[in-house]
Every structure is written in structure tokens, then in C-alpha cells.
């Protein structure tokens, strides 16, 4: 029996176990929306801006550990997704974005609401497709999901001309996707594993440097086992937070530009750096020739292009992090060369050195009894949620304070636009996360600037009963840019003062949400408690010490040991 393209698409979503789609309609996808209305298997979340649909799908994907889906119309609907797609691309998040397109006969004619979205998103998708023939529709969708979730995950876009959605097609029987041109390497080369393990046994001062790949490949247990088996201290990238328990004695927190003093010192002094699912990004390395200058480097990554891209690597291991770490753990368990007690004893001086650094310059801030310190707010959020909330962030100082002071113990609990740094990510992401985890507490740690970039999603949160909490660290500044201007531009605050700002409490109320405000440190705890006890969307407006900065800070282009400290 033949069905329409639109019906086939919905069947594909069911086949891919997609139960939630974030989207926004328009003429080019009206047939599809007509089908969605009749589907009882699919929840469609109507966002208020297409960018939000993609961020929400991104966070949804992160929480469930599978593919998130967004659906938008042609032209402006499609172009509005670009920021979200680029963010998912840089963070390697598996999403599939469906865009409407003008009918095939009109493509290329500058038709109403026509854009070449496949051309526009070519450099920021893992792959993308224009489906010109309804016969290709189902195989293309299957391939797209396969690409999004396998190998190094990433966004895939499918452009759907309106006539293809209306055309009739036989639904082909499911069969596993096999692609001649795409075969990611999952299993590590055993010789490389052995080399790496032997190198680790020779090292006196090893450091594990883990990134988002550990979370993507669900390798947190394997990495934790390895670290504890050999007492190797662990530093994490922004994307890697939660990949190893943040409160573990071996955890050193984040490294790089706003990393901890001890992480950066440890990397600078280590004799072996074991990079796992991280990509040696410039925010991590600082001045490249001063990065881990005494270390040999082992690098595990599923994407060969990440290896030796920025930093020359001694032992490359192309593999899925989970497989590679498991293989290393097994190697140590079986090897006569490895004796856990000896190894741990050998590690003592190095761990003592790191403890000294921790004592010298812990993560800290100047406490104040009159002004609310943003770090204090994040610490309180951690305390009052038992460290168990899902945290999303906006971008700027709020993002760094969240990363530094909410000590993530679990993977898939921290969602941030790491690679692209999109202001406006956090709130739609919180909605996406809440849709995926209805019983969890979800908090967007926000800046007063960023929150305004997707504030319209208050309506979405209300409509779908997502009681997300927004904690605005309100400095009335584009704080991170202001901090740079303070430090490197003689306090010339060009365009970073938000002279006109909404009253966030009233704003929340306008949407039927709850608004709370704290202006004194002793109001912080009651406000958080009230917010957590409220079964509604809540904006907490924390009026913070305006000129507070994020420290430590490595100025751009400096060595990571050249930190500005509190």
C-alpha cells in the first residue's frame, strides 16, 4: 500500500524511536504538520523560534544519549536553525533537522521562501541531503539517523520539498544501513593500546585530559576505572564535565582559559598527557608551544582529523573512547607488569604536588556579606539540589561560574554550547532536557544578556508544563566581554552595559511563570528553595556584584601557566 511522503516520514521517526520533535510550522511543511496532528505516538513541541527548536533537540539528545529531532519550514524557518546546527556540530551532538523546501519544480527559481539550506549548512553539518524523489526519502532518513548517532556524532539536515511530502511511495522494509563510504573505527588497534599502557606505566606524572567524547561514547565508567586503578589525576574540558565525578579526590576540574590553577599546573608539569575524546581546542591549550611542554601525548579519538591537528601526538589511538578505555583497563588487569599497589605508591609524590597546588590556589572568590557573589549562587544551587540537577547554561561569565562551581558528578547533566558559545542556548536547552527527563530538576544558569536571546521560549515552557528554573546571574552587563574590556582595554566599556533591561520578575509573570528576586546574600537560599518547591517555570533574578570576574583566567594567546588569579 502506498502512503504519502509525510506519512512515510512519520513512520521513519517511529522506527527510529523518536517520540518528541521540536518544531515550528510553515507553508512548506504544512502537509507534514497535518499528519503530526493525527499521530498519537509523537509529541510535537511548538517552540517560539526555530533556533530554540534546534537547541532543545540538542539538549534532548544529550539527556537521552540518542538523536534529537527538529522540524521547521523552508526559507526563514530553515535559516533560523543555522546557529543551533552549528552549535551541535561543534559539540558533536547527534540531531536530525528536517527543513521544508519549495516544490522541486520551483527549486532554483528564487521562489517564495526558498533558500539553499543544504548549501548554507554544508560546512556545519556532518552531512546533509536534499530529497528530490520520494523513493529516496526513507533510505535517506535512515541514513541520516545512522550518520547522526554513529562515529563522531553530529547534526544531519534533510531538506524536504513540499511535493515530495505529498507524493505517494511504498514504505520499504527496514534494513540495517550500510555505507561504503563511511565506516567509523570503533575498535582500537591492540598494538597501540599496549604501547599506551606501557607508556602509562613508565610515567611518573600522568594526567588524564577528558572531553565530550567520553560522554558521547558513554565511557564515564571506563575512564573512572582507569583513573582510580592507576591513581591518575583527571582534568576535564567544558564538554567533558561530568565524564568523571567532579568531587572525586582525583578530579582537578576544568583546564584551560578558565580552568583551575592546579589543572593548568598539572598539565604544564606532567610527563604524560592522556587525551580522551577531547580536541586540544585553543581555549584549552592557550599558547600552543607552551602546552604540556614536558609531556608525551596519548590521544584517543574516534575522529582521525582531531588527532595531531593542533598538537603533535606521540601515541594516536583512533577508536571509540569506551572501547579504547575498556581495552586499556583489561590490559592492566591482565598484565604482569602492572601492580596496583606499586603503581599507587609511585604516584604519591605527584598527587602530593597536585594537593599542594590545590591548597595554594583553590577555586575561590572574595566572599561578601552585602553583595551577592555569583559563585555563591552556583554553590548554593549545587547544595540545595544535592548536585543532582540537570544544569544548562547560557554563554559568558554565567557559563564559566556554572562550570567551575557546580561540581558535576554524573554525565549528561551539564548542557552548554561549548564549541560555538551561543548566547541563548541555555533556556531552550533546559526545555529540551526537561522534555527528556520529566522528573528531574532542570536549571538554566543564565546571564541577563543571554537570557534575552531566547526569552520568548517562556511560552513554550509554560505550554508543555516544563517547570524549568532560570537562575539569572544579573550583572546588568554583557559580563564576559566587559571583563575583557576591564582587563585588556583599560575599562573602556564599549557596548557592554545593558542600559535598558526588563524587570525579570514582571516578565515571568507576564507569561504566567513565577518571578523571584534576590538582592542580598541571605536572600539567595530562600529564593532557591522557593523556586525548587514551585511546580512552575521560575525566573530567579539574582542581582549580583556587577564587576565580579571569572578567575583564574589565562589571557588569550598566553601560556596556560600565565594565569590571572583571584
Amino acid at each position: 500500500m502506498k502512503i504519502t511522503g509525510a506519512q512515510a516520514l512519520l513512520k521513519c521517526l517511529e522506527e527510529q524511536k523518536v517520540d518528541t520533535v521540536f518544531g515550528f510550522p510553515g507553508g512548506a511543511v504544512i502537509d507534514l504538520y497535518d499528519e503530526i496532528l493525527q499521530s498519537d505516538k509523537l509529541t510535537h513541541v511548538l517552540v517560539r523560534h526555530e533556533q530554540a527548536a534546534v537547541h532543545a533537540a540538542d539538549a534532548y539528545a544529550r539527556v537521552i544519549g540518542d538523536v534529537g529531532v527538529a522540524l521547521v519550514t523552508s526559507g526563514p524557518g530553515a535559516t533560523n536553525t543555522v546557529t543551533g546546527i552549528a552549535s551541535a556540530y561543534l559539540d558533536s551532538i547527534p540531531i536530525v533537522v528536517f527543513t521544508g523546501q519549495v516544490p522541486t519544480g520551483l527549486i532554483g527559481n528564487d521562489a517564495f521562501q526558498e533558500v539553499d539550506i543544504v548549501g548554507i549548512t554544508r560546512p556545519c553539518t556532518k552531512h546533509n541531503y536534499l530529497v528530490k524523489d520520494v523513493k529516496d526519502l526513507v533510505p535517506t532518513i535512515r541514513e541520516a539517523f545512522y550518520l547522526a548517532r554513529t562515529g563522531r556524532p553530529g547534526p544531519v539536515l534533510i531538506d524536504l520539498p513540499k511535493d515530495v511530502m505529498a507524493a505517494m511511495v511504498n514504505f520499504p522494509a527496514p534494513k540495517p544501513v550500510k555505507m561504503r563510504t563511511y565506516q567509523p573505527t570503533y575498535k582500537p588497534h591492540p598494538g597501540q593500546i599496549e604501547k599506551a599502557c606501557k607508556k602509562i606505566l613508565q610515567a611518573k606524572r600522568p594526567v588524564l585530559y577528558i572531553g565530550g567524547g567520553v560522554i558521547a561514547s558513554k565511557a564515564h565508567e571506563e575512564v573512572t576505572e582507569l583513573a582510580r586503578k592507576l591513581d591518575i589525576p583527571v582534568t576535564m574540558t567544558l564538554m567533558g564535565l561530568g565524564g568523571f565525578p567532579g568531587t572525586d579526590p582525583l578530579a582537578m576540574g576544568m583546564l584551560g582559559m578558565h580552568g583551575t590553577y592546579y589543572s593548568n599546573m598539572a598539565v604544564a608539569r606532567c610527563d604524560l598527557l592522556i587525551g580522551v575524546g577531547a580536541r586540544f581546542d585553543d581555549r584549552v591549550t592557550g599558547r600552543i608551544d607552551a602546552f604540556a611542554p614536558h609531556a608525551e601525548i596519548i590521544h584517543i579519538d574516534i575522529d582521525p582529523t582531531s588527532i595531531s591537528k593542533n598538537v603533535e601526538v606521540d601515541i594516536p589511538i583512533v577508536a571509540d573512547c569506551k572501547h579504547a578505555l575498556a581495552a586499556m583497563n583489561t590490559w592492566f588487569d591482565r598484565s604482569d607488569l602492572f601492580n596496583e599497589e606499586d603503581e599507587k605508591e609511585k604516584r604519591q609524590p605527584w598527587l602530593e604536588q597536585i594537593d599542594e597546588w590545590k591548597a595554594e590556589h583553590p577555586l575561590s572568590y572574595a566572599k561578601d556579606t552585602n553583595k551577592i557573589k555569583p559563585q555563591f549562587v552556583v554553590e548554593k544551587l549545587h547544595e540545595l539540589t544535592g548536585g543532582d540537577a540537570i544544569i544548562t547554561t547560557e554563554v559568558g561569565q554565567n557559563q564559566m561560574w556554572a562550570a567551575q562551581f557546580y561540581h558535576f558528578n554524573h554525565p549528561r547533566a551539564f548542557m552548554t554550547s561549548g564549541g560555538l558559545g551561543v548566547m541563548g542556548y541555555g533556556f531552550p536547552a533546559a526545555i529540551g532536557a526537561q522534555m527528556a527527563a520529566r522528573d528531574r530538576t532542570v536549571i538554566d544558569i543564565a546571564g541577563d544578556g543571554s537570557i534575552q536571546m531566547n526569552i520568548q521560549e517562556l511560552a513554550t515552557a509554560k505550554q508543555y508544563n516544563c517547570p524549568v528554573k532560570i537562575a539569572i546571574l544579573n550583572n546588568n552587563y554583557l559580563g564576559m566581554v566587559r571583563q575583557w574590556q576591564e582587563l585588556f582595554y583599560d575599562k573602556r566599556y564599549s557596548a557592554t552595559t545593558l542600559d535598558v533591561a526588563p524587570d525579570f520578575v514582571l516578565l515571568a509573570e507576564a507569561y504566567g511563570a513565577v518571578g523571584l528576586r534576590a538582592t542580598k546574600p541571605d536572600e539567595v537560599e530562600p529564593v532557591i528553595k522557593e523556586a525548587l518547591a514551585t511546580d512552575n517555570v521560575v525566573i530567579m533574578d539574582f542581582v549580583i556584584d556587577r564587576e565580579e570576574g571569572v578567575y583564574p583566567m589565562v589571557p588569550a594567546g598566553k601560556a596556560t601557566t600565565e594565569m590571572l588569579l583571584v
Binding site: H127, R180, D303, E312
Partner: protein
Amino acid sequence: MRHTISVLLQNKPGVLSRITGLFSGRGFNIESLSVAQTLEPGLSCLTLMTSGDSQIVEQITKQLHKLIDVIKVTDITETDYVEREMALIRVKAESTTRAEVLRITDIFRGRVVDVGAKSYAIEVTGSCGKVQACVDLLRPIGIQEIVRTGTIAMTRSTK
């Protein structure tokens, strides 16, 4: 250093722009590029010449390979291979220079493919260097127009 890279790819819409986009987006050079179908339907072979240090060329080959439509990438620079390029050159050919043009064409085993009242169009094929040498010799006589293909290359069979 100059590298010759051979890429086997699926002949899907937009595949060329994925390749050129990769080069422009990442700031890699393309010195020449040529592409045509292979024996296997649906597959094309692309030869491109690029330059860069070994680290850059390693990134280029890895990034090319990462493209979903690409099947195989080989940097054939270090292997034993033949390369060919073809040029069509329209050169001034007046009574005083005609003989000289024919002589140069002959040296490079080229052919005259079009004769005009005051010009000859000649065809030369050879390695990129050979074609360039021919162009350099003809230039003083007066080249009016020139069209060159990109280089194509094939590894020699192992004996």
C-alpha cells in the same frame, strides 16, 4: 611542498562543493583540480594538487576522508606516478614567427589544432612542468589565449 592527491568519491549532487568548501573553509590551497567519472558508475575520481607542510597535508587528506561521499583518499606524491595536463594555447603566428611556433610545438610533441589568419591554436600535453615550459617559450612570441586542464594522475603499476 606540492602534493598530488587522488580522491575516489561518490558522484552525489553537491559533492564538488563539499570538497572546495572544505578547502576554502579551512584555508587550504587548491592549485589545480580535475574530476571525471571512473569505470564504476556513480563514482568519480578527482585529482587535486595542493601545497603545504606535512602536517597540513595530513589534515587535508584526513578531512577529505571525513566527507561522507568520499571513498578513498591517496596522497600519491611519494609514490611512482604519471601526471598529465593539457593546454590549448592560441599564439600569434605571423609570417616571421610561424616557423618558430611550429618548432616549439614540435619540441613538446604538441599539435596545431586550429589555424587562423594570424594565429595558431596548439595543444600540448605533459606533466605540469612540461606544459609550463612550453608556455614560457611561447610567451615571447605572443600568447593571445590559454586554457589549461587541471592535472590528472595515476600511480604506475608495480612490476
